[in-house]
Subunit: 439 residues, 2 copies
């Protein structure tokens, strides 16, 4: 049997007879003696020119989606994206689809939020559109780039449970389930586990499912995402964690633009402008700069506001040449118990937020690693360190953890921002939100 | 500041003064003038010889787990695993641990199932034992080897939802949860999703969490695992899927033994003996061979029995030179609706089970890809293809899927079998079973 040749390989077979296989993506009958079909395989689209009545007849009942084999001659064609077309075809219809596709896939599918029901309810169809598929090729390449970086930097991959006895951080917004009669919930984050694992592996990462029961009806919120988590020990200071994060983002952006250039182009995406060392600005300075620029006063706020985040990203792109910025020195008054206070300025915590293209994509803290201080900080929040949700966690500290820090980052958010999609949902094959539980 | 040198790098610094950092793993005071300590970092153990009263004094209150920095001279020592020890040390205790570890970690930790409570309840401590940590280094290297193979063979990584509206396959043994007032459950498998995604990517894989509410009290069953799922389209026949699976297993075993030789050695693990093409035996022939060899008669059974699986693996290792075997031609009478019947022998299905070291590690079928046949087979099981759990799935077929097949394989099972552990639980950092929901 003749070997199958993929669309992307055809340029190497000009003048030769080849066998291609794929989906009937589109067809156009000009006359009983001239027709065109476009075949789609996993690498691209190929046009086939049919000038033979018998072959045209074979496609009569076949709708888009039909599985076909074409044996024909590769003809150079400068107008085609892949540089070639197929002539003198002999066609075999392997699976004949009789019904017309419910969504047209040979033109871009609307990503207006009003069209989300079509986009997601027919995902098994819409993903067949080439630009749609490109989003998930980019996502696949992005997650691989993250892993490659972790791998090259001596991180160990871990897998931690997603069913927990208690809510992490005693938080709300968790999904509850029945575990053989016992109450349980779904993990919002592997944070406690990864910190505990620093004790054996020093540097760990996990890329896995995270669940948040956010009762929000905006187009922004989803309940299930892929979280990229890392944690590294034996740092000298907070800056070490920021440096690693900084290098990671540069690596991922460069790598992904290498592996997915064609796919980014389909979406008109521009490669993020990034400096080798991302600019850093303190919360205080950001408030002040924003006040001076706009007159709007956030100087008494502990946190940054979304509007400031967008503004500083724009400013940074223009003046500092970077679409990524670290905002540093968040007030310790608003910090969580597992963050560490700045030793020189106890009024601020070792916490930085990484902003990218207008949004916060990760909080990058140094953790409190000293057992006594941690216990103190847990109690100061009115929590009980002896409680089931804490006791294993604090035991890891009691028996020695080095200085460490890390972050959790949503894979879909990064992909969304790299491509320039409006909603994180568009970077998820089968999104879950307060109203959407299927397909 | 002097750079930190890791244990594994010290052999390159003989005669030089270096800085090492890590955990105080063990200490032994011979006299007020002679003491030994073992420092553990992420790459191994280093012995430090202390012949100075001041330095010995510094460690007085420090228990195992303390975080220490040692600056000293690298001395060749053929008796040491890493070939060197440290002399003339200056010690800094960065984090002093006062309490004695609840579990001894400088000797192997018992893996008897009676000791599982200690092993798992103190995981934040037990993982610090070097052989214990080795299991999870192997697991990290194994999962990376799987991905590397998929990557090199043009598979796209996908991420599918773990919260579902209905139970996949309408099955039992699912965990139920409350989704904003609507009933939902946790995914047992991404099978339907990956089949649907063949329509865009042809070859897909996912490595993610899978959940089974198995009410079983044996040491074998866990409720949460990492599933390695793949699906490939445009196959010519069932054998194509078996070949890919075959190549994958060979690749993973070879790669993992390259990256984790030291870790396998700690467990006395022997590299699996595998042929390039795994032997294949039909269910019928297996029953017959087993009957002839033992007198025990399973010839009327549709499925293989665990005892036959162990027996044929032993037989295959000895006579065929392979610890992996495909059992083929399962009766179609017992097949699921998504399997395809053998076109030449309709009494059997295109299903093979991959046995490895005595157990089934994957069912590797060719799927029914023809819409009409699939609907027929769903109805024959008394199920309704229009039901929420099926309607998106069957729509993908209605609009064209090529011949395809794939498998789901538990990562932990593979790791367990490669190392030679008794229970799959031992290959999970924080296992979940009917009785265990924390840490």
């Amino acid at each position: 049997m003749q070997d199958r040749i993929l669309a992307s390989q055809l340029i190497g077979y000009i003048g030769q007879q080849v066998k291609i296989e794929g989906w009937l993506h589109k067809k156009r009958e000009v006359s009983s003696k001239l027709a065109f079909l476009v075949l789609r395989d996993r690498t691209g689209l190929v046009q086939v020119v049919i000038e033979n009545e018998v072959e045209i007849e074979k496609l009569k009942g076949a709708q888009a989606g039909s599985i076909i084999t074409v044996v024909g001659v590769v003809n150079e064609d400068a107008r085609a994206t892949i540089g070639v077309e197929i002539k003198e075809p002999t066609i075999t219809v392997n699976v004949e689809v009789e019904e017309v596709l419910p969504v047209e896939i040979d033109k871009p599918i609307s990503h207006d939020s009003e069209n989300f029901d079509t986009l997601f309810n027919y995902r098994q169809i819409t993903v067949r559109s080439v630009p749609e598929r490109a989003i998930f090729k980019i996502k696949s390449n992005t997650v691989q780039a993250f892993r490659q970086f972790f791998w090259e930097n001596d991180f160990t991959e871990i897998h931690t449970p997603k069913i927990l006895a208690g809510a992490t951080e005693g938080g709300t917004e968790v999904f509850h389930l029945d575990y053989f009669g016992k109450p349980a919930c779904l993990a919002q984050s592997p944070q406690f586990y990864k910190q505990m694992m620093v004790a054996a592996f020093e540097r760990v990462f996990e890329i896995g499912s995270a669940f948040r029961a956010e009762l929000s009806f905006t187009t922004r919120h989803v309940t299930e995402i892929m979280m990229i988590d890392m944690e590294m020990g034996f740092i000298d200071n907070h800056q070490d964690v920021l440096d690693m994060t900084n290098r990671l983002i540069n690596y991922v952006v460069n790598k992904t633009w290498e592996t997915s250039a064609k796919e980014f182009e389909m979406w008109g995406a521009t490669k993020p402008v990034l400096t080798e060392k991302f600019p850093q600005i303190t919360v205080k300075d950001l408030h002040q700069m924003y006040f001076e620029a706009t007159g709007e006063d956030f100087r008494e706020e502990k946190d940054t506001s979304p509007i400031e985040e967008r503004w500083i990203c724009e400013y940074s792109k223009e003046h500092w040449g970077s679409e990524a910025v670290f905002v540093t020195e968040f007030p310790s008054a608003s910090m969580t118990f597992y963050h560490m206070k700045n030793e020189d300025k106890p009024e601020v915590a070792y916490r930085a937020d990484l902003l990218f293209r207008g949004v916060e994509i990760a909080t990058v803290p140094m953790r409190e690693h000293r057992y006594d201080k941690l216990i103190e900080q847990i109690k100061a929040k009115g929590l009980d360190p002896e409680e089931e949700g804490f006791k294993y966690y604090v035991s890891a500290f009691k028996h020695g953890l080095p200085k460490h820090g890390g972050f959790g980052m949503g894979l879909e958010r990064i992909v969304q921002k790299m491509i320039g999609l409006n909603s994180v949902k568009e970077a998820i094959l089968f999104p879950r939100d307060v109203k959407r539980l299927s397909p």
